[in-house]
Symmetry: C2
């Protein structure tokens, strides 16, 4: 029986359509053949990217040469430009602003063939440190209002280069979806005097039907009103509105849970394309009491996007309870098969 | 120079990224090979679909037999179910509702190989009459709060069957994107005491840099803060919040402009996948003074969707002024080439 479910944060209704219910093997992902002769993110090609902004590398190596294990550079085709001033202007009835902003690429590893799901914990942690370091630096720029860390994986996920990388975009405006979350979380707080995300963590732990992973500082579950099959959220257990305020202990814990969750998705769904995004409060803004930073992981398994884009109406053929079961049971099975 | 632009209705900022500027031939669309042995929408296969709800056919033909020129049936895999009651219930902190609703398919023509862009005006008009007829019938059901007419074209557009068809979904809740438009239009009205869409029509006519088509009752342009390359909006010139209140004259005019605009897109972009959606006010609701129904046409040319989904931040590599120029100049060129 189909069911409407409402996202408690942004109040978006989604249709959980059991009539179209699908199992993991229905999402056959074709292995992508993204063979390119030349990759600018491989060792030895450092001179073909913009100069490195940050690199984790041995002290005795030179910038923009091999030896690094994580490397951050400007996007070669940036959507926004850090050299521009922030000027607001009108155009008749319309409003516009110069395209100031940062747009950087985090090359996560020199290993062209790897991906986040396959890193060891140490490498995952180093990648997260690169996120945190660039985030904190950008947050000091008073022109910056929002910093978005995200990762596109696979061609369908929008990755134009196969080499494992993430991106950071910093802008003088707040993305609409985040603003909606802030507004919704504020509404909830003004009614309940509690954080809606903290409440979700509690309910998910009590109910225990959509949980995927939990470790010392983080928890991962399929959201109740999931828009997409196998959509997964990762939240810090400590209430915090600001990704930049993550502690050293939490970085370790965060890297582990991201690797663990992405590995489940990798194994159960056969390395599907996906996006993940870190949602955090705007820089220099309120949100301290009522917002809670988190990661949204969106596997790109369905093609119904245009309709959803235009309407904001999502039809999800995999109930999140089923997705959670597949990501636990099928994952175990797959691991057992492998070890035989 | 990149620029942020703000949608005057929903206040969404988009990045118009000229660094990544693209021309129509950069959006190379691979001709899709969707050859299937059997199509349930072809003449002679009427018995393989759910029974027809509405059909335009000669008086001397039987229902569910050939002869029709437009045919409406229930979706064989409906996302929602008209037999269910509308029951709201809680689940811990979460809210849910039974999956009541209509989900129908408009088979637009018996001609498997055709598409909206290629219909003659008469056929386009008949399709619009099918939309209007079903819309008005569903609007009488008091359980229905919103009726969404939309069309998915091409595999990337989410069409699972190649045979030309549209869909209607009627639900007891308002889709989020439409609710945002209603809220935004209301804000604008409370500030200006004018309809934001009427203002847009005026500015587009005066500026004349994003216009695509205009006829007696309708106008089509690329919106100032377009999210996607070649995103195109079609609006009635008469202020009206309700698609169901379209007049006979307007139906004729609407069918013509839809065919004309889609034909431009078909020719200039080589039959790309797309979605179009009719946005109208909710049934039995306010919106009369401040909302204005319209169509949003979204060609599916870029793959950056996951990031945009998650953030609500759109990066558009084709300024709408350029898109408008291509859809007028390149269209003329292409027609002249054809006629030689």
């Amino acid at each position: 029986m189909p069911e409407y479910r409402k996202d408690p944060v942004v109040k978006r209704w989604v249709i959980i359509s059991t009539e179209r219910a699908k199992r993991p093997h229905d999402f056959q992902v074709q292995p992508e053949e993204v063979k390119v002769a030349f990759c600018p993110f491989d060792y030895g090609n450092e001179h073909t990217t913009p100069p490195e902004i940050l690199a984790f590398r041995p002290a005795d190596t030179q910038p923009n040469t091999p030896g690094w294990w994580v490397r951050v550079v400007s996007n070669k085709f940036p959507a926004v430009d850090p050299e521009l001033p922030v000027d607001r202007y009108g155009h008749g009835m319309y409003d516009a602003m110069t395209g100031f902003g940062y747009h950087e690429v985090i090359v996560e590893t020199p290993d062209h063939e790897s991906t986040f799901a396959l890193y060891d914990y140490k490498q995952a942690e180093e990648v997260v440190w690169a996120y945190v370091t660039r985030f904190r630096t950008m947050a000091k720029d008073e022109r910056v209002k929002y910093i978005l860390v995200f990762r596109n994986h696979g061609k369908e996920g929008g990755a134009s280069l196969a080499h494992p990388h993430s991106q950071i975009i910093a802008t003088p405006v707040v993305p609409k979806t985040v603003q909606e979350e802030l507004d919704g979380a504020k509404d909830y707080y003004s009614y309940k005097e509690r954080c809606v995300f903290c409440d979700m963590i509690n309910q998910e732990k009590i109910e225990n039907r959509r949980l995927i992973e939990e470790n010392e500082h983080f928890i991962a579950f399929e959201p109740y009103a999931a828009r997409f099959p196998f959509e997964t959220w990762v939240l810090p257990k400590r209430h915090s509105h600001d990704f930049g305020s993550i502690t050293e202990d939490e970085v370790r814990s965060f890297a582990r849970i991201m690797k663990d969750v992405l590995h489940r998705i990798y194994v159960v769904l056969n390395n599907p394309p996906y996006n993940f995004l870190i949602h955090t409060a705007p820089v220099f803004e309120e949100g301290k009491t009522y917002y809670h930073w988190h990661v949204e992981i969106i596997p790109r398994l369905t093609r119904v996007a245009g309709f959803e884009w235009g309407s904001g109406f999502y039809i999800n053929p995999v109930p999140p309870e089923d997705a959670a079961r597949y990501l636990t049971e099928n994952y175990q099975e797959a691991l057992e098969k492998q070890s035989k």
